[in-house]
Amino acid sequence: MKRYSAFAVAREALRGNAGWQRAWGAPEPRPAYDVVIIGAGGHGLATAYYLGKRFGITNVAILEKGWLGGGNTGRNTTIIRSNYLQDASAAIYEKARSLYETLSQDLNYNIMFSPRGVMMLAQTHHEVRGYQRTAFANNLQGVETEFIGPQRVKELCPIIELKGPRYPVMGALWQPRGGTARHDAVAWGYARACSDMGMHIIQQCEVTGVRSEGGKVTGVETTKGPIGCSKLGVVVAGHSGVVAEMAGFRLPIESVPLQALVSEPIKPCMDVVVMANTVHGYMSQSDKGEMVIGGGTDGYNAYTQRGSFHHLEETVRALIETFPMISRLKMLRHWGGIVDVTGDRSPILSKTPVEGVFINCGWGTGGFKAIPGSGWGFAELMAKGHSPLTAEFGLDRFTEGRFIDESVAAGVAH
């Protein structure tokens, strides 16, 4: 792999950019691999990357029914934070956040991690108490956060209205090393690194069946023919239930649309990420200058990758209350993705009833920020059968009643 650098960019510029190689290969599938990952989104690619990097498992195929990074990895609002309340959540999201810090260097691909800081506004007494509690928990979890007062909120984000007539800003949970990254680049960077390790990323290859013998996985049927494997990782976000059905088990999951929107680009006016959970909205400004806005999920099951417009009305209303100056900006585009939501709204990284089949799903509205940590832990689970990062996220927790419930700390996640 030719390394990327300013020098390489300059050299190629002078040669008419003729020397750039493919970022990732376009191989035909082999009959079998040690490991097959279904889903070349961020989580699937990160899993493959850490299987290779940490455990030397490189005879890996990553199968993608569409184009890599084309699911929720490329549809989210790119927020990265780890200010979760429960230990298990804080552990995996903080692992992810800390990996993001050096991911550009690790992958030799600029994924533009920008620790611009994330604040979650407290607009009721109840929220103040909830975020104070989270700050205490984070302090013990090794997650750097603090509860800040309204004046500090205004200093960090001058476009906020503190004295909203309905929900004044009473403070915020502030994570200075939270931020954003370029979502597509995360998928592309992992893909390039996986390809470089000799792994096969096979796009336009839909899995149509899971083969097993004696309760043990032997491979998958695909639109490009059967592919054998002894371990199968299912990492397909909004379609987890569909693939689980092929493997013969059901999941505690429902798939619902989640929408987001961007404004037209404007010059920099907001250097932090702000989430306002009482009014259900969050906003940041991309490097291009667009205000990137999201809210809560739509209520009904769907696989349409679009939602109902009244949810966006609610989100925009909430954000005009919080940031009145956006009233005369214009919405450029809105879109939707399908998120899989579990019974406790926390993800599943687990073995399954079929031996050799592992599932990584249920990230709901907050998967992007977890990609490196999810890949790190899930690769370990697939390679070794156990990972401290994923231990609490097993399917059995629903039977035991051992939930990981973050709802106390956040009305909307992301």
């Binding site: 960019v9 184009w67 302090n139 370029r182 920099p268 005369r328 401290p388 419930d405």
Partner: protein, 981 residues
């Protein structure tokens, strides 16, 4: 130079001049101008700078597809960035400034990016700025952010002074687009008796037809337009709106209309924008087509415009973009522009046509003496901030041999693409039309609605019918020869020329960028789009997308349809956030629920706290106090004298019917069916998942009737929860539930003097014998019909008295007046919380957070052991719920008497597998108790009740630790002597 022609301009009124300012320069236009036409009339072709290279940008289009002419419009609280000059109607006093440059439009230092453009090829930022690590956030990114963005951000304290409205329409047919196809569709539907809404995004009916010409039934097409508009106006079942765009089409035949009511008359009384929420049985997209640019080197130099736009400016506004306008085309339509220019007396030095021959239009141009060069293309354009000439070459060449012709503007046409956005928003599919080289709606794969049937139909140019005779019966127009698809001009353009051939003018994406993306494996059209930013600008690829994906297809050696399009997402053009929010802002943002005594509280110092949709007084602040002082005073006064609490917000659900007891036995963990009429019982409600979700006092009114109190925030939710089980699981049980929360005003009369004040008011018997603790009775107090519950959430002698809501304020006044001699004072929610904590009563939302079961809270006494079933019982039998290691409720007292920080965790030795500090408990409620003169807290601690007297460490950020002792959670009056008197 661009200028106003001496004659012509069908949309302007030359007798009505309009003055405006652009970049602080006073300019003149005319009524009917757009900002763009007025700028061109003032020879202001240069209007902005591009996103990435900061190259000079001129007006390219005449409508919604304009990528370049975006301005900062207005000032102060009416300032708006990125306003499209081509769709901004000119008004007197308009103030506009160009964007994305420093220090000025003419001299922009950002243009250094252009000089470096070789180094800034597609995706360059993914390949560099990697080291050193902190530089991305602190050096590179701030630079990129500053040079990106387009318009200026509104001031942080800007407050939009305009208003916005939402409107609703339910129609049989929504016709989007008021061109000839839309007019015809509306007329047909109107004549068939259907309810029709016809909307047009511009201020004029007729679309392109009046400019493009042609005839209908022997008369000119604009006459047909006028007649049809007049006929539609006569139809009572047809509504027509100008300046209203079809913004989006959504599932179940829902559509959004965006009406710019007063953008052209700012400051009048009308709302600025309306957002129309339209439900239509059928949606007809008559949205026209957009002309494609041609990709040749230098096609982004100001002075290069779409041929149709040049025609629009000449015919509609009497404005020409230049004195000598060269034309480059691959089709016949551009010859209409040549004829229009010739008619207006503007020079057309050459028409460069990529084809080997043209049709009758070309003949007509030749007949007018215009030089037509077939088989030729533009090799390179000359000029910097303005076109100075065109270098033409053989179309099949590499562009190196040029013949230069002087001109000051170029009109280009690469063919037309139907506007398929609305068709596509909700899943409509497209077919590639090889002959016309465009995607058009496939009627067999239309979007389907709730009934599974197609609900969108494309009409006119939007359906691919590009010529007038195809659209209107009896119409005649020039016959057109086929176009020849051209995706790069000349066909064999050398690399250097590809690197100067723009696809996306705003985002600076060139042919070479798309080819590079394809070479690097970004092969999916979505990858290419995201890697190069093609089509991601504010025009969302209206001009660039088809050209871009044709280049991609060529690079991949694939057919264009195999490459496919990116997803079309709403809105069609950007719509204001204000319109999306509508009226619901400020005071109308969300409704506020008010108790009958709300205004009294407000007049008596209430420090308001939002609780659900309600506002409750957190405390009543008197002169000279701060909020904390007030809370302390309220607690002390209530404990010593008499306090009044407005408890009206508490949920009051009446559950009635022969099976009411049986039903409540399922709803509550307690046995409610054994409760005697006249008595009250504190009850707990769990979700089916076992967790505590609500609590409150249940009063049995009679054999078949219960009144269930819920928490303030829980009333609607618990009502729904009860209905859910009654309607969906036990629908054969005879039970009815009514939410009577707002029918009653409820007042807590609390404190040692509570009975005295009630006795003074007189009426019913409220003695300990007549109305013992946990009893209730109906009667009259002070002349008010009342239901009195002898319950206490404070530990004091306490009556909660419900009166008719309409009598609430009068009753409150009577209590305040009668209570004066007993030291009455109102108290708020914080005093309520402190008093309940002093008594060790739990609070839903404090001690519970969705992860807590009643067994954790020492509430086993409230869980019936006799019942076979209740909601949550099975869940509470699961392993983790019966785990003896679950954290249990205790009281906590700091060793130094201070207040434990809210939410603090108690640590134990060591770290877990994820290097997190191990914890063994946490604070759930914590207050300064004025009664005890020290901090008190409640918390959940592992094995807590077995560890009385143990001291726990609660670290606080900054390195210090607060130490607290585990104690009984009841801090005050453990024996209940105060409340049970």
């Amino acid at each position: 130079m661009s200028h106003r022609l001496p004659q012509g301009g069908r949309l302007i009124d030359r007798r009505k001049p309009r003055t405006f300012r652009f970049n602080n320069r006073a300019m003149r236009g005319m009524k009917g101008d757009t900002l763009a036409s007025a700028l061109l009339a003032s020879d202001q072709m240069l209007v902005g700078r591009s996103f990435k290279y900061h190259r000079p940008r001129g007006i390219v289009a005449s409508g919604a597809e304009e990528p370049n002419a975006l301005v900062n419009l207005g000032t102060g609280d009416r300032f708006e960035p990125n306003q499209r000059a081509t769709t901004t109607e000119l008004f007197d006093g308009l103030v506009a400034k160009s964007q994305n440059h420093f220090p000025s439009l003419d001299f922009d230092i950002g243009v250094v990016n252009d000089a470096l453009s070789k180094f800034l090829s597609a995706g360059f930022y993914y390949k560099m700025f990697i080291h050193p690590r902190p530089f991305w956030k602190h050096v590179y990114e701030p630079f990129i952010r500053q040079s990106a963005g387009l318009g200026k951000a509104p001031d942080a304290e800007a407050r939009d002074v305009d208003t916005y409205e939402h409107m609703y329409a339910h129609v049989d047919v929504l016709v989007v687009g008021g061109g000839v196809a839309g007019l015809q569709e509306a007329r047909a539907a109107g004549e068939a008796g259907k309810e029709v809404l016809l909307i047009e995004q511009t201020a004029h009916w007729g679309g392109r037809a009046p400019v493009d010409g042609g005839s209908v039934g022997g008369g000119p097409v604009d006459k047909w337009v006028d007649e049809t508009v007049a006929a539609l106006a006569e139809m009572p079942n047809v509504r027509m709106r100008l300046r209203m765009m079809g913004a989006g089409v959504y599932d179940h035949s829902y559509a959004l209309g965006y009406e710019r009511v007063s953008d052209h008359q700012p400051g009048n009384d009308a709302p600025r924008h309306r957002l129309w929420r339209i439900r239509a049985t059928e949606i007809v997209t008559a949205t026209g087509a957009i002309e494609r640019p041609l990709s040749f080197a230098g096609n982004d130099i100001p002075g290069v415009m779409l041929a149709s736009a040049v025609r629009d400016y000449v015919v509609n506004y009497g404005v020409t973009p230049g004195r000598r306008v060269a034309i480059a085309t691959n089709n016949d339509d551009a010859y209409r522009t040549a004829l229009a220019l010739a008619d207006a007396g503007v020079g057309v030095p050459v028409i460069v046509d990529a084809r080997s021959e043209g049709g009758p239009l070309a003949e007509a141009a030749r007949d007018r003496g215009i030089r037509v060069e077939f088989g030729m293309g533009v090799g390179r354009l000359l000029g910097g901030k303005r076109v100075t000439g065109v270098g033409i070459c053989r179309m099949d060449s590499d562009g190196s041999a040029l013949h230069e012709i002087a001109c000051d503007a170029v009109a280009m046409s690469g063919g037309w693409s139907p506007v398929v956005h609305l068709w596509s928003h909700c899943g409509g599919k497209l077919n590639w039309n090889e002959t016309r080289a465009h995607f058009a709606p496939d009627p067999a794969r239309a979007p389907t609605g709730a009934d599974g049937q197609a609900f969108v139909r494309a009409a006119g140019a939007a359906s691919g019918a590009l010529t007038l005779p195809e659209i209107l019966d009896g119409a005649e127009d020039w016959e057109e020869a086929p176009l020849s698809p051209v995706w790069q001009m000349p066909a064999q353009a050398e690399k250097a020329l590809q690197g100067k051939s723009w696809l996306d003018f705003q985002n600076d994406v060139k042919v070479s960028d798309v080819r590079l993306a394809a070479r690097e494996g970004y092969e999916s059209v979505e990858h290419t789009k995201r890697y190069t930013t093609l089509g991601m600008a504010t025009d969302q690829g209206k001009l660039s997308n088809i050209n871009g994906l044709a280049v991609l297809a060529d690079a991949l050696h694939k057919d264009i349809p195999a490459v496919g399009t990116t997803t079309f997402r709403p809105p069609y053009t950007p719509i204001s956030m204000g319109a999306i929010a509508g009226e619901a802002r400020g005071a109308l943002f969300q409704p506020i629920r008010r108790t009958p005594m709300h205004d009294w509280h407000d007049a008596h110092g209430a420090d308001w706290e939002p609780v659900g949709a309600w506002r409750r007084p957190y405390a009543f602040v008197q002169n000279g106090e701060d909020v904390h002082d007030a809370v302390m005073r309220e607690v002390t006064n209530t404990r010593q004298n008499l306090g009044l609490l407005d408890a009206s917000t508490l949920g009051k659900l009446i559950v009635k019917g022969p099976d009411a007891g049986r039903f409540l036995d399922m709803m509550y963990t307690n046995m409610m069916s054994t409760l005697k009429p006249g008595r009250c019982r504190y009850g707990l409600m769990c979700s089916e998942n076992g967790f505590l979700i609500d609590d409150g006092v249940v009063a049995r009114i009679d054999d078949e009737t219960f009144l269930c109190h819920t928490t303030t925030g829980g009333a609607d939710r618990i009502h729904g929860h009860m209905e859910d089980w009654l309607q969906c699981e036990w629908w054969d049980w005879k039970v009815w539930v009514v939410n009577a929360t707002e029918q009653f005003a409820q007042v807590g009369v609390v404190g040692p003097n509570a009975r005295k004040v009630l006795e003074k008011l007189g009426g019913m018997e409220v003695s300990a014998d007549a109305l013992p603790f946990m009893a209730w009775a109906d009667g009259e107090i002070g002349g008010f019909r009342a239901r009195v519950y002898r319950i206490s959430f404070s530990g004091e002698l306490s009556y909660e008295i419900a009166v008719d809501a309409g009598q609430g304020q009068a009753f409150w006044d009577a209590l305040m007046e009668a209570g004066e001699e007993f030291g009455v004072m109102p108290y708020g929610t914080e005093a309520l919380h402190i008093m309940r904590a002093e008594k060790g009563f739990i609070m839903i939302g404090d001690e519970t957070d969705g992860t807590v079961i009643p067994q954790d809270l020492g509430l086993n006494w409230a869980i019936s052991k006799k019942k076979e079933d209740y909601l949550g019982k099975r869940a509470q039998e699961r392993d983790h719920m019966t785990d003896p290691d679950r954290w249990q409720l205790v009281g906590l007292e700091t060793l130094d008497g201070s207040v434990l920080p809210d939410g603090a965790y108690a640590v134990e030795a060591g770290w877990n597998d994820n290097d997190q500090r191990r914890v063994q408990g946490r604070v759930t409620s914590t207050y300064h108790s004025p009664t005890l003169g020290r901090g008190i807290a409640m918390g959940l601690v592992r094995h807590g009740p077995d560890r009385m007297g143990e001291v726990l460490d609660f670290p606080v950020p900054g390195g210090t630790t607060v130490r607290a002792k585990i104690v009984d959670p009841v801090f005050y009056d453990r024996e209940g002597e105060k409340q049970n008197v």
